[in-house]
Symmetry: D2
Subunit: 108 residues, 4 copies
């Protein structure tokens, strides 16, 4: 069954990559390049998600969104955070004032 | 307990917002503005996530990543997709060749 | 006649806005909010340029690109730089190895 | 002397690249990949400009802004537009209501 435990599983693996030789994995190499390189990838994947959504190819949209979330997980791991922090924040907002909580915040 | 069921719960609520009066909710208003408005928000939140990560304020990083994921969910719902599609894609990659599957794909 | 002197003219005006009351102008207000607010606008305008280009409406493409360049000028002014620095860099590359100089640099 | 004629000179060269063999130049190769590839580069360079500005290294800021403007020129050329269109739009705004014209438009 597909459920969201994959996020925690990925986070666990990303944690283990931290000590790895950059030559052995994509993620270890990205860690080695540092925060800016990770954030560039995050920006790239956001652009690609936007382009896929405009194009309307559902398979591509899912693929690019997965790339975007994956690189968010890499960024979070690099900064000693993880998906549970993000999910807790989403749950907190839902608990307080429903899905539309953002609307009640000061405009950004 | 915090787990990833919040994603599916949010997706369910986002689905229900589809028929709602734009005046009644942030999401209904965003749907009403159309795909480009949703994608602009997605791009904005990606930029804000990048800025928060550079700044290094963990609370803000989590908040902006939550905003980014939330607007991904809005985009997916608008296009009749959902978080399970993205999680299935992440799980598929993990199953095939591990977390570093992306590295083995043709460079994009 | 339309020529690129408008960039320098804008830069001059942007410089003068630096001491202005935030209540009196859009740019003075943006300066008052600080670098992150300026960079968020830059990111937003980049996304809007991309969306306009995908949409194919030429009037909108020109308008969004103008917004993007304008906010680049605001960012440059805020950091005590200006369009001549950017134009000099473009000219330097052209002088060295032609328009395709970027291709000869190490991949980023 | 450094002036903005470099933009028109670049535009002229970009126009000439249109028929070129993709193997012979960076730009011809990018044209060959199509609009999405050009827009991905535009998004990447926007992210890199933002990261450079946060980092505060002036040389890098100028370099990344030049990359961003250059890829805007490539996008414009690909769509049969050019820098004069953007400069005319900036001049038009300045003429109508000064540099802060954007503030008077409906919020986007």
């Amino acid at each position: 069954m597909i459920d969201a435990s994959v996020l925690q599983h990925l986070a666990h693996t990303l944690e283990q990559r931290k000590g790895a030789d950059p030559a052995t994995s994509y993620v270890a190499k990205l860690y080695g390049k540092g925060l800016d390189a990770i954030l560039k990838k995050l920006g790239e994947e956001a652009t690609e998600t936007i382009l896929a959504a405009k194009e309307g190819d559902k398979l591509q949209i899912v693929r690019e969104t997965a790339d975007l979330w994956f690189h968010c997980l890499v960024m979070l791991a690099y900064l000693d955070l993880g998906p549970l922090d993000v999910l807790a924040e989403l749950k907190r907002r839902e608990g307080i004032s429903g899905i539309d909580e953002k609307a009640s915040r000061a405009p950004d």
